[in-house]
Amino acid sequence: MGNAQATPARKLTDAEARLAEIFAMQQSASAPQLAKLRTAAFDAFAKTGLPNRRDEAWKYTDLRALLRDVKPLAAPPEDSAKQSARNAAVLEGVATRRLVFVGGYFVAELSDLGDLEAGLSVVSLSEALAKGDAAAMTQIGNVGEVDDPAFALNTAFMGEGVVIRVGAGVCVDRPIQLVFVAGAQPATYFLRSLVIVEKGARATLIESFEGETAQEYHVNAATEVVLEEGASLERLKISREGAAAMHVSTFVASLAADAQLSDFGFNLGGAVLRNQSFININGQGAHAGLRGANILKGKEHADATLFLDHAAERSESKALFKSVLDDSSQAVFQGKILVRPGAQKTDARMMARTLLLSEGAQANCKPELEIFADDVQCAHGSTVGALDENLIFYLMARGIPQVEAQSLLTEAFIGEVIDAVATRSVRDALSALVSERLRTR
C-alpha cells in the first residue's frame, strides 16, 4: 500500500499529513528487510491517526491536539553538539557503561564499547540492521502485541538505538546507560532499542534523556525487552527534557517463567511526557516491579499509562507511582491489570500517590482491573493530598525553616520509590537529582 491515507474518513491534521509525507520520502531509503515492518506499522497508524482524548488509553494526553506540527527528522549532529553532549549530567559520575546518542545519532567517540563483559553484546540498532542480525529482526516489534498509534509510529520511523543481548547465565554488574541528548535544532527523534536477557542472565539498563535547549523537539522512544526464563533486568528511565520538549515513550516487556523485571520511570522535566508500558507476564512465577515518579512544575504534563497482562500462574506485579506537583502541572496515572483465565494465584497490586504543592496542580488517576481467574489477589488504590501540616510544624519546631521542611518531606515522599533502586551509587545520584529539582522550585 503506497499511500495509506488514500481515503481518509476525516481530514488529516497538519501533523498527520506531514508524517505521511515524511514516511513516503524515507521509505525508499530504508533497509529492505525493514521496509515491510515499517509499512505495516505506518498503515496501522494511518487507520486511527494520532490518538486523541476519545481514545481511552490517551484520554488525558490528547496527542492529536498537542502535536500541532511535526519537526523534521534529525540530521546528523554537528561537532559542537557532540562537544556539549560531553556535559550530559544525568547520573554523571556514576560508573555506568555509557552509550551516547546526540540528536538521535549514535556517537561512537563518546561511547564506551570497550572491554565488553563476556557474554554481553551491545551494538547500535543501525549496525545490527546493516549486519542483518536475524534474531534481532525477528524480535523487533514482536515482543508483545501492542496496538498503539505512538508505538506504531516509532516502528514506522525508528532511527537509532541499541540492540543488547546478555548471554545465558551472564551477570553484568556495571549498568548500561543509554544517554540521549537532544540536538540544538528543532527535530523529531525516533529511538528504538531491543534488549534480550537470556536464560538466568542479569543486567541493569539505564535510559536517560536530556535536553538543555529551549527549542521545541519531539522524542518518540521505544524499548522492547525480552526476559527469558529466570532472567532479571532492572531498568531505569530518566527524562529530564528541555522545557518545550514532547516525549512519548513506549516500553514493551515479555517475561518468561521466574523472570524478574524492575522498572522505574522518573520524570524531571519536559512540556509533555508520556511513559506507556506494556508488560506481558507469560511465564509462571515471574515478577514485575513497576515504579514511577514525577516531579513537575510550571505547566508540565506527565502521563504514566500501564498495561499489565498476567497470563501465567503464580506471577506477581507491584506497581507504585508517585507524583509531586507544583504550580499548574498535571500528572496522569492510568493502570490496567488484566488477569487472563488460568492465571491463578496472581498477586497484582497497584498504587498511585500524588502530593500537591499548589492549588493549581492536577492529578488524574484511573486504575482498572479486569480479572478472568477466580483465585487471585488484586488491589489498587490512589491518594491525592498536600503535605502534612503537623509534620511541617514538628520539623519547624526543631529549627528547620519552612521551605527546607517542605523539601525534606517531599524528598521523603519520593524517596520510597527511589529506595527500591538496587545500585547504591545510582540511588544516591537520583536522590541528588530530586534535591536539586525541589530546591529550584
Binding site: N390, Y394, G399, I400, P401, A405, L409, E416
Partner: protein, 252 residues
C-alpha cells in the same frame, strides 16, 4: 536580670475558643518549674502557643523569650532563639532519616544564630554519646525519625534531640505519659543533665511521679487557662493527696 521566659496576662484562642485566660509566668535561668493541672486546663495549649503552632492565636498579653517577643517569630526562629518543646506525642516522619533530621535541625539553628555548622563526624560522635546516656540503640537512629518507635522510645528520642540542640528553655509536655518506670528514670536522667544555671526547664505534667526524678524549684497549678496557685516542690505532693477537684471548682 531579664527573665528567660516571661508570660504576662496572656490570652490565646484556638478556632475562636479562648483557652488561655490571662496567663502569668516567669521562669528565670537556672530554674525548673512544674506546671500541673487537670486534663483540659490548657497545659498543652500553653506549650503550643509558645512554640507557635499554626491555629493557636495570641489575642492579648505577651510572651517573651529572653526579652524577645515570641509572637513576632516564626516557629523555626523560636527554636533557633532557644525554645524547645518536647512533644507529648512525638510524630513519626516516614522517609526522613533521623541523622538527616538532626543535622538539618542543628545546623539550621546554628546558621540562624551565625554560628559555625557542626560537621557530620562531630554530629555522629555527639549523637552516639547521647544515645549511650539515654540507653538507645544506634540502630534505631538509622531509621526514619520515630518510625516504628514505641512510646518510650519516642520520648527518649525527643530527649536526645533536646540534649543535642541545647536549648535555653525546655518545655516538656507530659513527657511522662506512656513511659514505664525504667524509661522514666532514663529520660529524667537526661533532663537532669540539662539542668544548668543558664537554662530554664518547664515540666508540664498531670502526675507527681515525674517530679520524683526531676525535682522542681517551683510548682504551679493551672486550671481553666491560667495559673491559680504557685508553691514549692511540696505543692506537688499535696496535689497527689488532694487531687485537682478544689482547683477546678475554684476556677468554675
Amino acid at each position: 536580670m531579664t527573665a528567660l521566659l516571661e508570660i504576662r496576662d496572656l490570652k490565646a484562642e484556638i478556632a475562636g475558643k479562648q483557652i488561655l485566660n490571662g496567663y502569668d509566668l516567669t521562669v528565670k535561668a537556672g530554674e525548673v518549674h512544674a506546671i500541673m493541672g487537670p486534663n483540659g486546663s490548657g497545659k498543652s495549649t500553653l506549650s503550643y502557643v509558645l512554640s507557635g503552632r499554626p491555629g493557636y492565636k495570641i489575642t492579648e498579653g505577651q510572651a517573651l523569650l529572653a526579652g524577645a517577643d515570641l509572637s513576632q517569630m516564626s516557629v523555626d526562629e523560636r527554636a533557633a532563639a532557644g525554645l524547645f518543646l518536647a512533644f507529648q506525642y512525638p510524630l513519626e516522619v516516614p522517609g526522613v532519616a533521623t541523622m538527616t533530621f538532626l543535622r538539618a535541625a542543628l545546623n539550621a539553628q546554628r546558621k540562624k544564630r551565625g554560628e559555625e555548622e557542626m560537621s557530620s563526624p562531630d554530629l555522629i560522635k555527639r549523637v552516639k554519646e547521647l544515645a549511650k546516656i539515654l540507653d538507645m540503640d544506634m540502630e534505631m537512629l538509622r531509621r526514619p525519625v520515630n518510625v516504628g518507635f514505641s512510646g518510650g522510645e519516642k520520648k527518649r528520642a525527643e530527649t536526645l534531640q533536646m540534649m543535642l540542640l541545647e536549648p535555653k528553655l525546655c518545655i516538656l509536655d507530659e513527657t511522662d505519659s506512656g513511659l514505664d518506670i525504667d524509661a522514666l528514670k532514663v529520660v529524667s536522667n537526661g533532663v537532669n543533665q540539662l539542668r544548668s544555671k543558664d537554662r530554664g526547664i518547664v515540666v508540664i505534667t498531670h502526675y507527681q511521679r515525674l517530679l520524683d526524678y526531676i525535682t522542681p524549684d517551683v510548682v504551679h497549678v493551672q486550671s481553666a487557662g491560667r495559673i491559680v496557685r504557685t508553691g514549692g516542690k511540696e505543692l506537688a505532693l499535696e496535689l497527689e493527696e488532694t487531687g485537682y477537684a478544689r482547683y477546678q471548682s475554684e476556677a468554675a
